[in-house]
């Protein structure tokens, strides 16, 4: 599991897409934090501290699905279509493959988010642990969804298209459901990670549990696949 995890983790850094996304995240983070420093006199202290991380939070919540999908939409099905998966599946359990891949992606995003918050800490003079937790809770769900799509759809081109559509539609749909007063649809808010991210506080931990649930579903689906 850890061998696959670190292989995936290292592999993500080699892609040009990863470098572009890291550059965007760092750029927006630095620019937002710098802007907050300029405007801090006009903001109260609390808002100022939160505001430093608003750049990362915006990117994660609005573009998180899109970034993850663009980098890892084919994390499983690429290996299935090229049949490199056959070497993996004859050496370790399918559960280890799915969880290993998940952890590899998770570590990559943790590294990006953590480094962004370190960058913010240089400017804000405070390390925002809770902000990392909120972002990673949300990202954990997004990665798990991405993994499921890659297991369900056998062709990488399909996951690429579906991932982009999902990344654009899902946030909009989620916010509509969350803020809807229509009782027939508002109960669906419990199925979107945005709801728990918006609730904040310890509700963000529900996203981690949510992610584990989706991941386990992925393991079950992958166990049934012929490779």
């Amino acid at each position: 599991m850890w061998t696959i995890c670190f292989h995936e983790f290292k592999g993500l850094f080699k892609s040009i897409k990863s470098i572009i996304i890291i550059a965007i995240i760092f750029g927006v983070t630095y620019w937002t934090a710098d802007l907050m420093t300029t405007l801090k006199d006009q903001l109260d202290v609390h808002a100022g501290k939160e505001g430093y991380a608003s750049g990362i939070a915006s990117i994660v919540f609005l573009l998180g699905f899109l970034f993850i999908s663009s980098l890892s939409h084919d994390v499983i099905n690429r290996e299935v279509s090229t049949r490199t998966i056959r070497f993996l599946v004859t050496k370790t359990s399918r559960g280890n493959i799915v969880i290993g891949k998940y952890l590899g992606m998770w570590l990559f995003w943790f590294f990006c988010i953590f480094t962004s918050f370190v960058l913010v800490a240089f400017i804000s003079k405070k390390f925002l642990w809770w902000g990392i937790l909120e972002c990673m809770g949300f990202i954990s769900v997004a990665i798990a969804y991405n993994l499921i799509f890659s297991i369900i759809f056998p062709k990488p081109a399909v996951t690429m298209f579906f991932g982009i559509v999902f990344a654009l539609v899902f946030p909009a749909l989620s916010f509509w459901i969350i803020f809807s007063s229509n009782g027939a649809i508002s109960w669906l808010k419990f199925f979107t990670p945005y709801y728990y991210a918006l609730l904040g506080n310890f509700y963000v931990f529900i996203n981690f549990i949510y992610a584990i649930g989706v991941l386990m579903l992925g393991v079950v689906l992958f166990r049934r696949r012929d490779l």
Partner: protein, 305 residues
């Protein structure tokens, strides 16, 4: 000890049965050959045994263990149609796959395995630049990198040059000498005949025939062709009368006689009859069927209505 024990393995894709109720036992230390035409179900069976695909029904034990995940580190697999990561070198692949099997392979160990498969000079070359044959060799290397007890090889010599194929065949023999069990498929009948201690012939998803080469031969060839080269026969009639009782399809020329007998036991009396007639025997050729003949015969029989 049986290292492979498959019971009632069946694989269906929709209404089509690809592997049909296959029962199989392979003993430790054997080189077991799986023969069959394209689409006979050989690779599907190997893929089921190695966890690549799931059987529709049936069960199997590898190395006396019913849970495949518990023995994956003790088996090595060269699957059919598999590729490698283009950006990794041969050594990188071997280290990665060994680690996945819970085996920490040093660079020296990886190089020694690459040497065994004849790929040492390409150890640091990226797999993306490998030819089909080189990929095949790397596939064999990754199957043995973690020193497994049971090795599945799906067509290990297909697509590689004759010299490399001989090298791989010798490697398979050496693996057996090291006490490992090899389960292999091949389209090369001479290769199977040369290497395998037991052979199964698969047809339409079923094992049509199974046994040692001698067993297959004795099962399939009730006729033995005997050709005798001898000194000129002074009186053909007496000898011919005897030969008619010992065999059939008799052809006698001045210095050569050929006939077909039903069993090996019928050959010594024939020789004695020749010498009894004071005929010198220069050479006796007994034509045994090759695996190719058995295989073709098998398929002809199988395709008969």
């Amino acid at each position: 000890m049986n290292v492979i024990e498959a019971t009632g393995i069946t694989k269906m894709y929709g209404p089509k049965t690809v592997v049909d109720n296959v029962n199989l036992k392979v003993k430790k230390g054997e080189i077991y050959g799986f023969l069959g035409r394209n689409g006979a179900g050989k690779s599907t069976f190997i893929n089921i045994m190695t966890g690549i695909i799931q059987p529709t029904s049936g069960s199997f034990k590898l190395l006396d263990e019913p849970n495949l995940n518990n023995v994956k580190h003790r088996i090595g697999v060269l699957p059919d149609y598999s590729t490698f990561y283009d950006s990794l070198t041969a050594i990188d692949h071997l280290k990665y796959y060994a680690k996945l099997s819970g085996y920490k392979a040093s660079t020296e160990h990886c190089e020694s395995v690459l040497k065994r498969v004849g790929l040492l000079e390409h150890a640091h070359k990226k797999a993306g630049k490998f030819s089909f044959g080189m990929k095949k060799k790397l596939g064999i290397a990754q199957a043995i990198i973690h020193n497994p007890e049971l090795i599945f090889l799906d067509e290990p010599t297909s697509g590689i040059d004759a010299e490399s194929a001989l090298h791989i065949q010798q490697l398979i023999v050496n693996l057996q000498k090291e006490g490992k069990t090899v389960f292999m498929t091949s389209h090369n009948l001479h290769e199977v005949e040369k290497l395998c201690t037991r052979i199964a012939i698969m047809k339409n998803g079923r094992i049509w025939n199974e046994g040692t080469l001698e067993e297959l031969k004795s099962r399939y060839m009730s006729s033995i062709h005997v050709e005798i080269k001898h000194s000129p026969i002074p009186q053909k009639e007496g000898l011919f009368t005897f030969l008619k009782t010992a065999g059939r399809d008799i052809t006698i020329t001045e210095t050569k006689t050929s006939l077909v007998v039903d069993a090996e036991e019928n050959i010594p009396p024939i020789i004695r009859a020749f010498t009894g007639h004071e005929i010198d025997i220069y050479r006796v050729n007994v034509h045994e069927p090759s695996l190719e003949e058995i295989f073709l015969n098998d398929n002809l029989d199988a395709s008969a209505p």
